[in-house]
């Protein structure tokens, strides 16, 4: 007899499972619009030049492989904080923050969720936008938090339901936790405008909510790292002590190296030290200390002026290609003769696009056209190329006409 006879087969991960199904497909026209990994115009993974250069520099230094501190590589965590907060940030300059290195964005959210579960006694409720990244819910739930939602996406207009969001948020019980996507909302690609962010800041302040920003696409959304961090910086300027998760998976193409950070803005440097000590106590029984490779590369890039400049150009290049694919998709849909309004495809921003396709239509796209995406109709625009955008438009038109 076995201990495991009663263990159920788990369902495939909704997002990563798409790639696995795609890999099994033998259709030569197949398209993987599932996972959010950038592809160049040949549909190939793109290793940034600044990353290659950073790797060569690191190799030449012949560094050892001694354990990093629990909180990670200091040059990396400092540079991550500065990237998010801005070099002129009072919070950054005064040192009233703590940033720990994390296992990319997921690891950062996990640390954040566990930290809140342990130390944020006022509430167990985390309010997510509707919809949000699929993995947010299980991460917070596994940490022992409860999930609630606020209106965000309006399926009728494929854009932001701002009045719905403001209405819901104004009713959130005080001292609850609200999670906001800093830019390039995943999965919808719908971001508030700056004027709307200002109103959001005012209402969360009024409700005395703990604000959790998830920023996985800084630089990747508009092509401008400062513009993409605007909301984060504005909130902090308004006196809101946020917590923040960052990922370098997309904006540096460091996916498998797992480079990320978790930041807590504190009242003062002393509080930051105490928070840091507790974060370390959380991290140690999870994986002891973080992996060095991705953090070293990211640190080298952020801290070497030439490489940083090159990085900013490459990030803009990636963002620009995505914007151009959005434009081409819309024009191709028009050429196919589609009568639907596809403006949301170019209004939305970042790697993902909420097409508005229904599950049955998505199923047809997968089965009949080998076009793979998640059931919610989300496509990764990064998987679209000038070579396949015509086929994609054709397929979408076929299932929506």
């Amino acid at each position: 007899s076995s201990w495991w006879s009663h263990v159920e087969m788990g369902p495939p991960d909704p997002i990563l499972g798409v790639t696995e199904a795609y890999k099994r497909d033998t259709n030569s026209k197949k398209m993987n619009l599932g996972v959010g990994a950038y592809r160049d115009d040949n549909g190939k993974p793109y290793v940034l030049n600044c990353v290659r250069k950073a790797e060569a520099m690191i190799a030449s230094k012949k560094m050892d492989k001694e354990y990093l501190p629990i909180g990670g590589l200091a040059d990396f965590t400092r540079a991550s904080a500065e990237l998010a907060l801005g070099e002129n940030s009072e919070a950054f300059k005064s040192g009233r923050y703590v940033t720990v290195q994390s296992i990319s964005g997921t690891g950062s959210l996990r640390i954040g969720a566990n930290f809140l579960q342990r130390f944020f006694k006022a509430s167990r409720d985390v309010y997510l936008p509707k919809p949000s990244w699929g993995n947010h819910t299980p991460i917070f739930r596994d940490a022992g938090m409860q999930l609630q939602a606020y209106r965000y996406y309006d399926p009728k207009t494929c854009s932001l339901d701002f009045s719905g969001a403001m209405d819901d948020i104004s009713k959130i019980p005080e001292k609850s936790i609200i999670l906001l996507h800093a830019c390039a909302h995943n999965p919808t690609g719908v971001d508030p405008r700056q004027e709307q962010w200002k109103e959001l800041a005012a209402v969360v302040k009024k409700r005395n909510l703990l604000v959790y920003f998830d920023m996985a696409y800084q630089g990747f959304a508009s092509g401008d790292i400062n513009r993409d961090a605007w909301a984060v910086r504005y909130f902090i300027d308004q006196g809101i002590n946020i917590v923040l998760s960052q990922s370098f998976a997309k904006n540096m193409g460091l996916y498998g190296e797992r480079a990320g950070a978790f930041t807590v803005i504190c009242s003062d440097a002393d509080e930051a030290k105490r928070v840091e000590s507790q974060l370390k106590i959380l991290i140690r029984p999870m994986y002891s200390n973080p992996p060095v490779n991705g953090a070293r590369i990211a640190s080298m890039i952020l801290n070497t002026p030439d490489l940083r400049k090159e990085w900013l150009t490459e990030v803009k290049g990636m963002a620009d290609r995505i914007i151009s694919m959005r434009t081409q998709l819309v024009s191709n849909l028009k050429k196919e003769g589609s009568s639907h309004n596809w403006q949301h495809i170019t209004d939305q921003i970042g790697m993902f696009c909420f097409t508005g396709l229904k599950p049955e239509q998505v199923e047809r796209l997968i089965k009949e056209f080998s076009v793979y995406m998640t059931k919610d109709g989300r496509i990764s625009v990064a998987g679209v190329t000038s070579g396949n955008v015509g086929y994609l438009a054709h397929a979408i038109h076929q299932v929506t006409k």
Partner: protein, 393 residues
Amino acid sequence: LTADFREDGDSRKVNLGVGAYRTDEGQPWVLPVVKKVEQMIANDNSLNHEYLPILGLPEFRANASRIALGDDSPAIKENRIGSVQSLGGTGALRIGAEFLRRWYNGNNNTATPVYVSAPSWENHNSVFMDAGFKDIRTYHYWDAAKRGLDLQGLLNDMEQAPEFSIFILHACAHNPTGTDPTPEQWKQIASVMKRRNLFPFFDSAYQGFASGNLDKDAWAVRFFVSEGFELFCAQSFSKNFGLYNERVGNLTVVGKNADNVQCVLSQMEKIVRTTWSNPPSQGARIVATTLSSPQLFDEWYGNVKTMADRVLLMRSELRSRLEALGTPGTWNHITEQIGMFSFTGLNPKQVEYMVKEKHIYLMASGRINMCGLTTKNLDYVAKSIHEAVTKIQ
């Protein structure tokens, strides 16, 4: 401890608290085979930084489990093993613990007792506690009086333990005592565990590093597999590959049949997805490349033996010096213990003397890391221990 050592200005200072291998020059050592393989990886333009699968790099997982269980393992042949690439040995322990809390001995049975050796690596407790287990106990292990294994105490604890309790077993080179059960003793342990339905969760952080022989260091794990146990084995490649900061580990799962193991892995995937999504690529590539090439494997084995042999040499040199000095007490435990660590038997006052007066840094438990010893500092350390033992009671 390390911080105090760093700030100490005394030129004679010795760090016997370090948790990593050091060369005879007291330096960290990147294994030559690792340097070679990293160069190969850097030169391979077909490689990129894409996400690994949730469970990790397939070539890494298969090779890592093969190293633990042996090429001829019946469990591998019968396809009833699974592997989860993890963030070091700690990560492997955590994923295993999270899974056990959810699926072992019922569903979400946080009351299942978890037994950790007394003493053990202090992080074991925290891993299982943070995974949700409420009842973490110790089992007798170190006998301070006779400076060896308290086998009877250990077996008694296993007899008394509630059925289905989980036991964390050190596969070899027990941390911090360096004292391992003999094969005969392991057989007795396995017999009790089988009869009482206790779950073996092996922590294997020093395979190869302990004796210099991979098979010898894996004997206990493989014996349990041959006895038909279902078990977990958390593996670390931090020490035996010197890949500390790349966080390379593997959780090997041994089940009764292939279907069960697939179900287990699918549930472990869910756990991984909310912990780190997918593991880091660099360290796994290095290990996979090395283990799958006969030539590189041999080179690695040679590097591992270099480390193990240096530790064995330091043990024998320290012991012979203490005996030559006529230091009160017996010192055979220094060479009988195995692996990186040694429980010297020094008491807290003697340790304080070592640290404050002699600038030799070690843990209050009397634990030293043999890697901190070098041919240059052996005499000084031996003399200092002699002083501490004779001056302080």
